[in-house]
Structure formats: structure tokens, C-alpha cells
């Protein structure tokens, strides 16, 4: 497949605006500013693009909601807080192809009549922050940003805002709180950010990869874009593959490719030709799958039918040597650390699950512990403001469902 999101990143000067322009960059922006904003929104809607942050919500629908709210100003935010363990798919765009994201944001800002944009980038990516700052400066100098974008009288100002190490800020309302200089604790929805977001104004938040798809849609048109990948879930997708494969890394492949193809055809199979034990297909929060369940199409529509979710497309591969109880314990320790503390079921329940898992993993678990673990998890699911607690509960439930015998073996 021809690459778009990772186009040109092999070029050692790929972050330079002139190299980006030479490779066809900013052409989509010049095309977009000749279109009516509403027509861009319908084009994105027609393309079938779904948000790449993990939830897979149709981007065009989100945009249409925001366009329908007359309040101004509107804000355009990019969620570059990729913190889901296993996920590093946005990093090549941020570090190697920053102008693709910037171009996507300018087009989106124009389409949604938002004059101010912020890229909320995680604190753990200090190099990417500097690269983006430099790229924004170049885009200003070329006249693609500022008070008169491409001489068309369009205003768009773009800034980078650095997070400071909080997974929860990847949740959109927590991200907004954080951008407002507050503790990153999620808000109750509704109101949704498209109506009341940053500084209580209509706010559109899209993931890095989502925004990076926008120039492509404008370039080739919604109809051609919709032909790529799965029918209900089109487009190219970035998969970040880690763990025991021969060639880990970020791969741009069509939506709907199977997990088996990713692992064996693209990543060369399992290291040391060991046996595959399990795969987490979409970042740590998504349900773990046993080795015989990898013939599933990786997209937002089909993965739930196969017992998991696409999530962020972060494929974590475990060979036969891995102690999955320990992995489960480490994952829950992460959620305990990252719980923002706002909702009791998550704050207390996740810590309780961690304590039980620590016992089982350390060999001092009791016969009742596995059922207790599931009971605690059931008392978190659906009882919190945001999906963090649900994510932690889902991890526990699926590890136990698919690998119960490993837990039982630890209990004497």
C-alpha cells in the first residue's frame, strides 16, 4: 500500500517545511481554502473517517455537531497525549512528519471556523515538542499560519501545550481541564466539548493520526478515501507493534488487516521462533486475546465481534515464556497510579485489584482471590465518570476469562 501518514519520513530532513512541500505537502491546504468550510465538513463526513484515538467515533459527525453550535470562538485541539501503554503510533508523525499534522490542523480549523488551535502533547515527548515548535515557526514564515492564511484572509493560530505526565489527560475532558491549567480530572458529559469545551466554548478534539488523515481526504477526495480498508471503517491505520516480534515498530497498513498478517507477514513472526501465547491488540486497556484468536480484522467495527477492540492499534505480543499474571498485575499497577482520584469505584477499586493481583502474583493468593478480583472489577464497570476505571476492570476480566488457569496455578 502506498504510504500517506508515514510518507517522506525516511528523508533525514523530513521535518523541514521545504522538504515537506517538495513531497507534495500543503497542497491539500491550498485546495481546502478554495472550498467552503461546510463542504469540507461534508467531505470528511462522507469519507467515513473514524477517530484514531481509540474510541473510533465518526470524525465527520463530531465536526457537524461543532459546526451546528453558533457560539464563538471555537477551539481546535489536537490530542497528542498518547499515553496508552503499548502505543507509540503518533510519535513518527510528531517527530518526523510534523507538517502533516500542522496542515491537518489548519484545514480542520478552517473547516470548523476555529481561529485558535492547541496541540496538547505529553510531557514524555520533549523532543517532539521542540520539533513541533520549530515546524510551527516555519509554517508562520511561509504564511500558512497567522492572520492571513495563504493570503485568503483566514485566521489560524497554533500553539503547542505540554502535558506533565498524566495518562488521564488523554481523556478529552481531562485534557481540556489540563489545558485550562487545572488538575486533569474528567468532566461529566453532557455537555460535550463540541458545545462546551475549552473555556466553555465549542471545542473540537481530534487525535494526531485523525488530523493527519485530513489532508489525505482533501487530496484524493472522500470517495477514493472510503475505498481504502474496511467498508465501515476506511482509511490507512498506524499500528504500533511491540513485544516478542522479530520486527517491532510502527506500520502504516489498511484498516481491517488481520492481527495474524500484522504479526507474521509484516513483523516477521515471533522472536527466536517461539510460540505465541497472547496478544493485546489495541493498547493495554483492550481485551487480551489468546494465540488462536488472531485471525480477526483490525478495525473498530470488527474487533468487538472477535472479543476485543481496535483501541489505539497498539499490538502487544507475548510469547510462551511470559508470565501473564505478572503482566496483569503490572497493568493494574499502572491504572492505580494513573487513576485521577475523582470517582471512588476507580480510586479504591483499582487499588484493591492491584493488591489482590500482587498477592496472587507473589504466590500468597487464596482460593477465593480470583472470584474476589472479578467481583471488585464488576463494581467498577460503568460506575465512573470516564473510561479509565472501565479499562482497568476490562483488563482483569479478560485476563481471567482467557487465562484463568495461569491464575489458578499461582494459588497453592
Amino acid at each position: 500500500m502506498e504510504k500517506f501518514l508515514l510518507r517522506n519520513i525516511e528523508n533525514p530532513n523530513s521535518t523541514d517545511i521545504n522538504e515537506y512541500i517538495k513531497a507534495g505537502g500543503y497542497k491539500a491546504l491550498l485546495k481546502a481554502v478554495e472550498m467552503k468550510p461546510a463542504d469540507i465538513v461534508s467531505e470528511v463526513r462522507k469519507s467515513g473517517l473514524r477517530g484514531r484515538g481509540g474510541a473510533g467515533f465518526p470524525t465527520g459527525m463530531k465536526w457537524a455537531f461543532a459546526s451546528a453550535d453558533p457560539k464563538k470562538p471555537r477551539y481546535m485541539l489536537c490530542n497528542a497525549d498518547e499515553g496508552e501503554p503499548g502505543t507509540f503510533k503518533d510519535r513518527p508523525i510528531l517527530e518526523k512528519n510534523p507538517h502533516l499534522l500542522i496542515e491537518g490542523m489548519i484545514i480542520s480549523g478552517y473547516a470548523l471556523e476555529a481561529e485558535y488551535g492547541y496541540i496538547y502533547i505529553r510531557g514524555e515527548y520533549p523532543a517532539a515538542k521542540d520539533i513541533l515548535d520549530a515546524a510551527i515557526k516555519q509554517a508562520h514564515e511561509k504564511g500558512y499560519l497567522g492572520d492571513n492564511v495563504s493570503g485568503k484572509g483566514v485566521r489560524f493560530h497554533l500553539y503547542v501545550h505540554q502535558g506533565a505526565g498524566a495518562y488521564i489527560c488523554g481523556e478529552e475532558t481531562a485534557l481540556i481541564e489540563s489545558l485550562e491549567g487545572k488538575r486533569g480530572q474528567p468532566r461529566i458529559k453532557p455537555p460535550f466539548p463540541v458545545n462546551e469545551g475549552f473555556l466553555s466554548k465549542p471545542t473540537i478534539i481530534n487525535n494526531v493520526e485523525t488530523l493527519a488523515n485530513i489532508p489525505y481526504i482533501i487530496e484524493i477526495g472522500a470517495d477514493a478515501y472510503a475505498e481504502i480498508g474496511s467498508p465501515d471503517c476506511p482509511g490507512p491505520k498506524l499500528y504500533s507493534v511491540s513485544g516478542h516480534v522479530k520486527r517491532p515498530g510502527v506500520y502504516e497498513l489498511p484498516m481491517g488487516i488481520t492481527l495474524r498478517e500484522i504479526i507474521y507477514d509484516h513483523c516477521g513472526g515471533i522472536r527466536g521462533d517461539k510460540k505465541l501465547k497472547a496478544v493485546i491488540p489495541g493498547g493495554i486497556s483492550t481485551p487480551i486475546l489468546p494465540a488462536d484468536a488472531i485471525d480477526c480484522p483490525m478495525d473498530f467495527v470488527n474487533m468487538p465481534k472477535h472479543g476485543s477492540m481496535l483501541g489505539s492499534g497498539a499490538v502487544m505480543v507475548f510469547d510462551e515464556t511470559v508470565d501473564l499474571v505478572k503482566v496483569c498485575y503490572r497493568a493494574i499497577k499502572f491504572f492505580e497510579h494513573e487513576s485521577c482520584g475523582k470517582c471512588t469505584p476507580c480510586r479504591e477499586g483499582v487499588g484493591w485489584m492491584r493488591a489482590i493481583l500482587e498477592r496472587i502474583s507473589g504466590g500468597s493468593g487464596t482460593a477465593e482471590d480470583i472470584d474476589l478480583l472479578i467481583e471488585v472489577s464488576n463494581n467498577i464497570t460503568g460506575k465512573t465518570f470516564c473510561p479509565l476505571g472501565d479499562g482497568a476492570a476490562m483488563v482483569v476480566q479478560n485476563f481471567v476469562k482467557n487465562f484463568r488457569s495461569e491464575f489458578e496455578e499461582k494459588i497453592h
Partner: protein, 154 residues
């Protein structure tokens, strides 16, 4: 006391936002970069500049893992131990840091050269295990490689 430069930089940051408190996180970064950590006095001063109550400033700054509220060593090692790094050997790296430098998580070496913080995922899972030293990324770490890398930080 914040330097004149820091105050000036915070003033510039302030222009990027339509309200003052939005510049709080970037302002804290400015101070942390200059002092290495955020002292109670510094928090108070930032609050006064941005007109944010000092309790709010403290509540916000202590929410975020990457803001530091006590002095640290000259170089900060942020070693990832999340799942991808764990299965690729980050535990043995923690042991090396302990044996070789006497470093424990959240600790600082006696000579003030290194501080160690254990991180959640830093987005380098494909080249795990990985760490940040100050703002530099280092990945594909082995016991030998981590020692060689750290030798460059004096």
C-alpha cells in the same frame, strides 16, 4: 526568586491563551527548567504572576507526575517499567542502577549526579526497554548499554 528571564518568558506564554490559568502548566515548566524543581516559594510566585490562588497552584502542580517538588540530582533518569519494557528486561536495569550507583526509585545518588524515577509508558515500546535521561531518549537498553550511556552524564 524567579529570574527576570523566567518572568519575561511567563509573560510571553500568557499571550498564547485567552485566560491566565491556562498558562499555569507551561509557566511551571519554565520555573522547573530554571531551578530543577518547584519550591513552595516558586509556586507562590507563579501564582502571583498569573493571579491563581496558591492552594490551586499547589493542587495542580502536585497532580502531575513530571513536576518535582523537591530538589533532584544533576541528571534525571526516567526509566520505563510498564508492560512492554518489563517483558523486555527493565527489571534487570533497575537492579543495575541499584548495584552500580546505589540508586533506588525516587532516590538520588550521594554525589548528587543522578536521580531515578520509574516511569509509566514513555512511548518507546517498539524499542523497549527505554528511558529518558533529562530530555534525551535512549532505547534498546541492555545492562551494558545503560552503564555506557550513563557514563556520558557527569
Amino acid at each position: 526568586m524567579l529570574s527576570e528571564n523566567a518572568v519575561k518568558e511567563i509573560g510571553l506564554i500568557r499571550n498564547k491563551y485567552h485566560d491566565a490559568q491556562s498558562s499555569l502548566l507551561p509557566a511551571l515548566y519554565v520555573v522547573q527548567k530554571e531551578h530543577g524543581w518547584l519550591s513552595p516559594e516558586a509556586l507562590k510566585e507563579v501564582g502571583e504572576i498569573l493571579n491563581v490562588p496558591k492552594a490551586e497552584v499547589k493542587g495542580v502542580s502536585t497532580f502531575y507526575a513530571m513536576f518535582r517538588h523537591r530538589p533532584i540530582g544533576r541528571h534525571l533518569i526516567q526509566l520505563c517499567t510498564n508492560v512492554a519494557c518489563m517483558i523486555m528486561g527493565s527489571e534487570s536495569l533497575l537492579n543495575i542502577l541499584k548495584e552500580r550507583y546505589g540508586l533506588e526509585p525516587n532516590g538520588t545518588t550521594g554525589d548528587g549526579r543522578f536521580s531515578l524515577v520509574v516511569m509509566e509508558c514513555i512511548g518507546a515500546c517498539g524499542t523497549a526497554p527505554a528511558m529518558l535521561v533529562d530530555t534525551d531518549f535512549h532505547d534498546n537498553l541492555t545492562e551494558e548499554r545503560i552503564v555506557n550511556i550513563l557514563e556520558k552524564y557527569k
